[in-house]
């Protein structure tokens, strides 16, 4: 019954009465046509006046009976209103809505008409249309960042325009920031001390319904309290999306044949069918090699995966592109890029009163000379103009201070050996007095951190050591009974590593005497190699495929220029990025996938390139989530978007129209505007 267009609201005899009204009106009209006779001197002029009216008499008759037609129309409208025309519509309950629209890369999937974002936007527009008048809504678009597109307003036109203006991004998704933005008004802040009995809400809570238009391709958010937000999840995407994705792509030197390069890629199948496809490798647009890959289908939550490996001759520089020729619902992850840049050796300065032989040895291995350009100076050099300019302009990637401290923090990563830096964080009052505490015994080394990776120090004898427990923000890499032996602390965009013991000590006679037997261990050169690679920034350059869309990319320049120009993969205008008193220039506009070209200063020489790839299994996995986890709540997908089914009826409008017609009739009757 509810879905029918008409709804009868009268009984048959009532309809009979209604049906009798039009004939009655007609009858009254015929009866009414009794004209008052009036004698006039002559009908001569009157006849002439109405003469031309008789020419189109049908129309005249119609016009003369305008009132009759209006009355009949009114009755017809009344009958129509009594039929209660209407349709099955929906109504949104609630007064405040927060609409979260996912704009992450996966929303570009074309498994639904046009794409998921378009479908989600349409859902969103439908929802705005269904809002009761007076209800307010706010629009937030989110990928890995959230953006408030529109603050609370009841103007549906603005809301519609804002929704329509939302565009997709290539970024990953993260709901948390969007949720925080959304909960700002719904859950007003409290004082941070929850134990405080005086803790009062600073503003009145405004409960809102939170609509999340997404495919659910984001991680769970365990530590979020929804509070006054009532979440609803409007799922975008079909049940069986097909997607094959390159989820990683990297290049390295073949350890067996150093003159050869190896390229690895991992291809995952998120669909339900086995996929046979070919993967083609291009160097600077020229096809190098191709392989046939067979990728098994997904099994429940885990995607089917297959690896491809290419061997190629050493290339100094170039852009490698891997492409798979499958037609799936998501094209962004069907190609991946990696860049072979000329490896720039790290510029390293070692300041030491007397260079120990073991240290010099560790820094002059073949491997070390390949990755770093090392210069050695005595502490007296720190007074010179050359040092001051070099250390403040970012000339050095890494400065090692052996048993000495610089007058001011340099614009470089540092490694302090046997001394604690005199930087503000370290000299703060709450810092313990750094005094030698005798022989420590090491009980833990962080094997994960790149600086201490593969550094094994069993039974290393250390004569005397300082506790170098780092200030807030730092982390200890080597823990000993006296505290920390090696710690690393961030400073601006740099890192300061502090080793708590001297390698050698200068005796009274001027000769160096070792204070540890670490230099005889294999871990000693490994540590210095790690230091060169990690603190010298070499490892970062080697990390060729680490940039994801939207992530900032630090550009290390060959020469200390104050600006670089970056050409995005889609071409177009070069973007100029200025150095901001940092060692590296940070480029943030990495929205597009592909290879970015970097030119230094004002030169036209291509200095380096970097690639931005999606490489995110969560985005590539197009299967929309059945529910999303927010805090302790699991939000099921909405079947009907949580709207109450309601019959939308027209009768009010019809009756209003009828009243308008009655008014018009009254006006015509009084003014006699017709002939």
């Amino acid at each position: 019954m509810g879905s029918e267009f008409f709804l009868n609201s009268l009984l048959w005899w009532q309809w009979g009465i209604l049906a009798a009204i039009p004939p009655a009106i007609l009858l009254l009209y015929f009866l009414k046509l009794k004209r008052r006779p009036l004698e006039v001197p002559s009908t001569f002029l009157w006849m002439r006046a109405i003469e031309d009216l008789h020419v189109n008499s049908i129309w005249q008759r119609l016009r003369q009976n305008l009132l009759l037609f209006l009355q009949l129309l009114f009755i017809a409208l009344l009958a129509l209103a009594l039929l209660r025309p209407g349709w099955q519509g929906t109504r949104l309950d609630g007064e405040r809505f927060i609409l979260l629209l996912d704009t992450s890369a996966s929303m570009q999937a074309t498994d639904v008409t046009e794409n998921r974002l378009a479908a989600a936007k349409q859902d969103c527009l439908n929802l705005i249309d269904a809002m009761e008048s007076g209800a307010v809504a706010m629009i937030i678009s989110f990928s890995d960042v959230a953006r408030v597109e529109q603050t609370f307003t009841d103007n549906k036109n603005i809301l519609r325009a804002k929704v329509k203006a939302i565009e997709s991004t290539n970024r990953l998704s993260d709901l948390e920031e969007a949720l925080r933005a959304a909960s700002g008004l719904a859950n007003p802040g409290r004082s941070s001390n929850t134990e405080d009995k005086q803790d009062l809400q600073v503003a009145e809570a405004m409960p809102a319904t939170l609509y999340i238009f997404s495919d659910g391709g984001f991680r769970e958010i365990p530590n979020f309290a929804l509070g006054n937000l009532e979440p609803k999840y409007v799922r975008a995407g079909s049940e069986t999306p097909q997607n094959v994705a390159i989820t990683s792509f990297s290049t390295s030197r073949n350890p067996d044949h150093p003159q050869k390069l190896q390229t690895f890629a991992r291809i995952e199948n998120f669909g339900t069918e086995k996929i046979e496809c070919s993967a083609s490798l291009y160097l600077n647009g020229t096809l190098l090699d191709a392989q046939q890959v067979s990728i098994p289908p997904r099994e429940k939550q885990s995607a089917g995966a297959s690896g491809v490996q290419f061997e190629m001759d050493d290339e100094d520089e170039g852009v490698l592109k891997l492409e798979i020729d499958v037609k799936d619902d998501f094209s962004l992850d069907n190609a991946a890029y990696t860049v072979l840049n000329i490896q720039r050796p790290a510029r390293v300065l070692v300041v030491s009163p007397s260079m120990s032989k073991s240290m010099r040895l560790a820094l002059s291995t073949d491997e070390a000379t390949k990755v770093a350009q090392i210069s050695y100076e005595t502490p007296a050099f720190m007074e010179s103009k050359g040092y001051q300019e070099g250390s403040s302009s970012g000339l050095y990637d890494l400065i090692m201070y052996d048993r000495c401290v610089p007058p001011a923090p340099p614009q470089a990563n540092t490694l302090f050996i046997g001394r604690v830096p005199n930087f503000p964080d370290w000299t703060a009052k709450e810092q313990p007095a750094r005094e030698k505490q005798g022989a420590p015994s090491i009980y833990n080394i962080d094997n994960v951190h790149p600086l201490t990776q593969l550094v094994d120090m069993p039974n290393v004898i250390i004569v005397d050591a300082l506790d170098v427990t780092p200030p807030k923000g730092g982390m200890s890499l080597i823990d000993a009974n006296i505290g920390s032996l090696l710690s690393i602390t961030p400073r601006q965009s740099f890192e300061d590593a502090v080793l708590g013991f001297e390698l050698v000590t200068t005796a009274d006679d001027g000769t160096d005497k070792p204070t540890t037997d670490w230099s005889r261990r294999r871990s000693f050169p490994v540590f210095f190699m790690n230091a060169l690679k990690y603190l010298g920034g070499v490892s970062l350059q080697a990390n060729l495929s680490g940039v994801r869309p939207g992530e900032p990319y630090p550009i290390r320049t060959l020469v200390p220029v104050d600006r670089v120009r970056v050409k995005p993969p889609q071409g177009g205008r070069e973007l100029e990025v200025l150095r901001e008193t940092q060692q590296a220039i940070t480029f943030t506009q990495t929205e597009d996938l592909g290879v970015y070209e970097v030119r230094e200063g004002t030169g036209s020489q291509l200095s380096q390139q970097f690639a931005v790839n999606l490489f995110d299994a969560r985005e590539s996995d197009l299967l929309p989530a059945e529910n999303i986890e927010i805090g302790h709540a699991s939000v099921e997908k909405e079947v009907k978007q949580g709207r109450d089914a309601v019959r939308k009826e027209l009768w009010k409008w019809i009756v209003m129209l009828g009243l308008g017609i009655v008014l018009l009739e009254w006006y015509i009757y009084n003014k006699r505007v017709y002939v």
């Binding site: 004209r35 006779p37 009036l38 004698e39 006039v40 001197p41 002029l45 109405i50 009216l53 505007v673």
Partner: protein, 298 residues
Amino acid sequence: MTTGERITTLLSPQLLAQLERLELVSRKIFRGRMKGERRSNRKGQSVEFADFRNYVPGDDLRFIDWNLYARLDRLFLKLFLEEEDLHFYALIDCSDSMTFGEPSKLQFAKQLAASLGFIGLCRADRVKIEALGTSRSKPAPVLRGRASLWRMLEYLDQIESGANVPLLQSVKDFVLCNSGKGIVVLLTDLMDKAGYEAAINYLLTRQMDVYVIHVLAPEELDPELTGDLKLVDCEDGDIAEITMSRPLLDRYKRTLAAFIEGAREYCTRRGMNYLTTSTAVPVEQIVSSYLRKKGLVR
């Protein structure tokens, strides 16, 4: 109704005093039948000198200017202007349609005819006021001299409406019966379904100086009718069904204006004088102002 009352209803004493100073003017020169007070450009016997001309044998010796003969030794004849009377006709349409209005159009026409007739009587003109449609057996009296005022008013008083003779027919009768030339004033509402043009043309055939005074009642000029009406023509019972509305009223007024303008143009083209007047306008004003401008009186 006594004669005095008639005078006051048709012509008030003030009006009479005003009219005494006026005279009827004709732009055309007519030969009168009798000597009157009116100069004619015909040479004749009067005291008013006009011109000299050479004597030709057979001329009346009485008119030779002997003084001139004495001086010039040539015979000249003295010419004098002839003084003649003027024929003045007032034709009153007395169809039923003239009974409308307050005062009725007929009454108004009578007043106007009386006024003009009185002027003519004062100037010793030959005045004949005739109701159109009157039978030939009872012709209207021909009046002359102030003393005939009473007769004229008596005749006017007995004129009644009801003679619904077509305008053409009545004018034709008038023209056939009255051969004299002079001024004709036609007082009518021109409401003849057959058209007024032929009737007016008849008047022209006598080469008379024709004045058409179109008398309309305020009810005709600006009808105040409302509702659904069945208009009945008082003369022929013709029926027009109308539903009054502003557009229809506008249309009627446009038709009336076109009708008046058509009549004016028709008359002007044929050398006739045409004047529309409403019965609401006082007769004094029409005579002393409008007709003076038209040149009928001076």
